[in-house]
Amino acid sequence: MSADVLIIGGGLHGLSAALQAARRGAAVQLVERHFLGRHASGATAAGVRTLGRDGAELPLSLEAARDWHDMEGLVGDDCGFVACGQLQVAEDELSLTKIEMRIKRLQAMGHFHEQMVGPDEIRSLLPGISAHCLGGAWVSSDGSADPHRTIRAFRDAAIRAGVDIIEECLVTALTRSATGWRAETSRGVFEAEIVVNAAGAWADHVSHLAGDPLQHEIRTSMMVVTERSASRIKPVVGSFGKKLSLKQTSQGTFLIGGGSQGKLAADRQSATVDVVALAASMQAAVRVFPELEGVRIVRTWVGMEAMTSDHRPVIGFSQQVEGLIHVFGFSGHGFQLVPSVGRVVADLICQGHTNHDLDAFCVSRVSIERVAA
């Protein structure tokens, strides 16, 4: 089988790049080792957040924010996105000061999406919030989406655009020929001019297969979902400097995360929940919302994702081998970026360059030679 581009990884970033490239006329083959969305993209909290974004990510994030408000237009479904707002509360004076400084910095750069809110405003946004919360940052146009619906919408749109998707297809070897790539997989051999490494937590492995050895850590963020309960919390809520991110879904369940880490298996293929570490997020949750104390947890899980040392993704061409594009390392906050990053990767696939400034995401940051040097 042969295509213009072979995308390795059926998470949202692989799907988004596939969709955009196919719409521009490329013949796209996407392979996923398990099923679409099996890893980070299915495990995600699906927060759509410009709030608190790293400055280097902000242009891509603001572009993506506009997409999220018109997902119908992009993929034919709203992906369950609700602009319920995101609120970052300060539980102490120091946090409040740091939030203030950040917002001032943003405003100096001409960005006004984050607003400072005081104690009265946070209480009117969140009647149940604990009295010790002093205020915080608020982005009313942020929100959250439904990850599985998002995966389905991107899959369906990609298929409509002509992408060929194969699941339960593990890439085991990549070799370069004069004209392009030859990929051996558990489902046969594929040939393509360009390979996109969108393999999430296993991007390092794929980079080795392709002869451009890169390295990254694996984040193992834990999530908790509770039983259904009466609707009381509208925005997505985080706490500055604490391991807490909390929202109430449209089903009434609470989804709680915030970056508490599970245990990574020695072979780096799986991860399990670390209950004691999880307790930290639960303490933060009941500290900020005391009335949630009696709500029952139904399920917990761990999502695995590549993490870089500066927590910024890797997006761009390999500097070692021809025809290889990397897109991974979203370090726990890549969901919101899916629409814009897909466009950037399609630029690289179809034009060989993009107008976006990708310096902050360059591949050399994670190349093994550089790390060794």
Binding site: T226, V276, Q283, A285, T300, W301
Partner: protein, 459 residues
């Protein structure tokens, strides 16, 4: 707290293991969510011993009294009304009781957590008024409660017969029994010679049936049972000899056998085997009851349905296995022989092949409109549709439909999803995985997890 052995479950298997381990001087903790010892069969045994319900519950039940008494004086630490919601390598067990979570450590773990009733979806099974025979029996054992009005029982296996007998003994009435078992097939009869070693068991079955015949109608050879009604069960209908039959009903009790509880062993990554005849998964154990994970033992119905007597004996065997594993005893083989444990277990299991062949799990095609996942109200049709669009992996179906995401963690829909995936993809059921099981094993509150000590350090 730290122990030599932590036992989950104070049923026949857990109690007898605890007693035996205490004889070796091991420090033992036994955790059970019930308020008193007994497990499923001997539920409420201590309190019921002095109640009018006692004689009605039958001879087997009464045998639990001595076992519970011996357990009480064994010196094992007993934590009643306590749930085990997570087990970690090493071993750490996370418990909650009275709104507080705690962690205990043990050198070995014995899962004696028993069985659960096999969930069998059919049209109307989620309607109020429809419940399982096991649930009705729990009400009977824990408070002498009997169902009222026109009570129907539908199902197969020993438990409906036993429950019906207990109910009749207490003056309850049954409008009718819809027997879903297939007529004894050759395969069942061929196993009779083995079963004859357990005359007592067989006679019991016959006695139970006669009692029920006297009290109501027995219906056999029907199909497509439906429970119908507006807010509550009002009537039952079924298909027989080309005609639809309909009766009034206030209560319908259903039962299609019991299957091992596997969430614990699945979550711990133990190897399992598929029992094709009975259609269930059970942890693989060696001749001492040790699972594929060192120092993790499984005994009783949790390691394969064998009934209470076999459970008691397998608990003793596991106790010896644990004593050997922990280096507490080097005589385990000799002790095993001396107590005739293998011969006794063989005898206790004599009737089992006959029962297993006699009562296979229902294998009829589930109509598309029937709800498979009660928690999230997902129909068989929706699961089929998702299965057609994904690989034969229950996680994919779960992501696509929310099926299995509710509070029961797939205990109600796991096997149904497996069977539907097998059907859609044309695979044998044994080749389809079960759901991934993630903590907590029992619902635990945010406050309870937050209360775990040492958590602050992790913030």
């Amino acid at each position: 707290m730290s122990y030599d052995v932590a036992i989950v479950g104070a049923g026949p298997a857990g109690m007898s293991a605890a007693i035996r381990l205490r004889e070796f001087g091991a420090s033992v903790v036994v955790i059970d969510e019930q308020p008193s010892p007994g497990g499923q069969i001997f539920r409420g045994i201590e309190r019921n011993a002095s109640s009018p319900v006692f004689p009605a519950l039958g001879k087997d039940y009464q045998k639990g009294q001595a076992l519970a008494a011996a357990f009480r004086v064994s010196g094992a630490e007993y934590l009643p009304s306590t749930q085990v919601w997570q087990i970690e390598d090493g071993w750490n067990l996370y418990l909650t009781a009275e709104g507080k979570a705690q962690r205990i450590a043990a050198r070995a773990v014995l899962l004696a957590n028993g069985a659960q009733e096999r969930p069998v979806p059919f049209a109307g099974w989620t309607l109020p008024g429809v419940m399982t025979v096991g649930a009705a029996q729990i009400l009977l054992k824990s408070g002498g409660m009997l169902p009222e009005g026109k009570v129907w029982i539908a199902g197969a296996g020993p438990l409906p017969l036993l429950y019906a007998t207990q109910l009749l003994n207490l003056g309850g009435r049954i409008a009718g029994f819809l027997d879903t078992s297939t007529p004894p097939r050759l395969s069942a009869l061929r196993r009779l010679p083995g079963a004859w070693r357990d005359f007592g068991g067989l006679l019991k079955g016959l006695r139970w049936l006669r009692g029920i015949k006297r009290s109501g109608i027995i219906v056999r050879g029907f199909s497509d049972l439906r429970a119908e009604g507006n807010e509550h069960l009002e009537h039952l209908t079924w298909e027989m000899e080309g005609k639809r039959h309909r009766v009034e009903a206030d209560v319908l009790l259903v039962h299609e056998g019991v299957v091992p509880r596997i969430h614990e062993t699945l979550a711990l990554g133990c190897a399992h085997h598929w029992n094709d005849e009975q259609g269930y998964l059970a942890a693989k154990v060696d001749r001492w009851g040790e699972s594929s994970r060192k120092s993790l033992f499984v005994a009783g119905d949790a390691s394969g349905i064998g009934g209470w007597l076999a459970a008691t004996i397998s608990g003793e065997i596991a106790a010896l296995g644990i004593a050997g594993r922990l280096g507490i005893s080097s005589e385990t083989d000799r002790l095993r022989k001396r107590a005739h444990l293998d011969r006794r277990r063989k005898r206790a299991l004599a009737l089992r092949p006959f029962l297993d062949a006699m009562y296979p799990p229902p294998r009829n095609r589930l109509p598309d409109d029937v709800i498979a996942c009660r928690c999230e109200e997902v129909t068989a049709g929706a699961i089929r549709a998702a299965a057609r669009n994904s690989p034969a992996d229950p996680s994919a179906v779960k992501a696509a439909t929310r099926c299995g995401m509710g509070p029961c963690q797939g205990r109600q829909c796991g096997y149904t999803v497996q069977a539907l995936l097998a059907e859609v993809h044309g695979l044998p059921v044994s080749e389809v995985r079960f759901f991934h099981i993630r903590p907590p094993l029992k619902p635990v509150t945010l406050g309870e997890i937050a209360s775990l000590e040492k958590a602050d350090r992790a913030t």
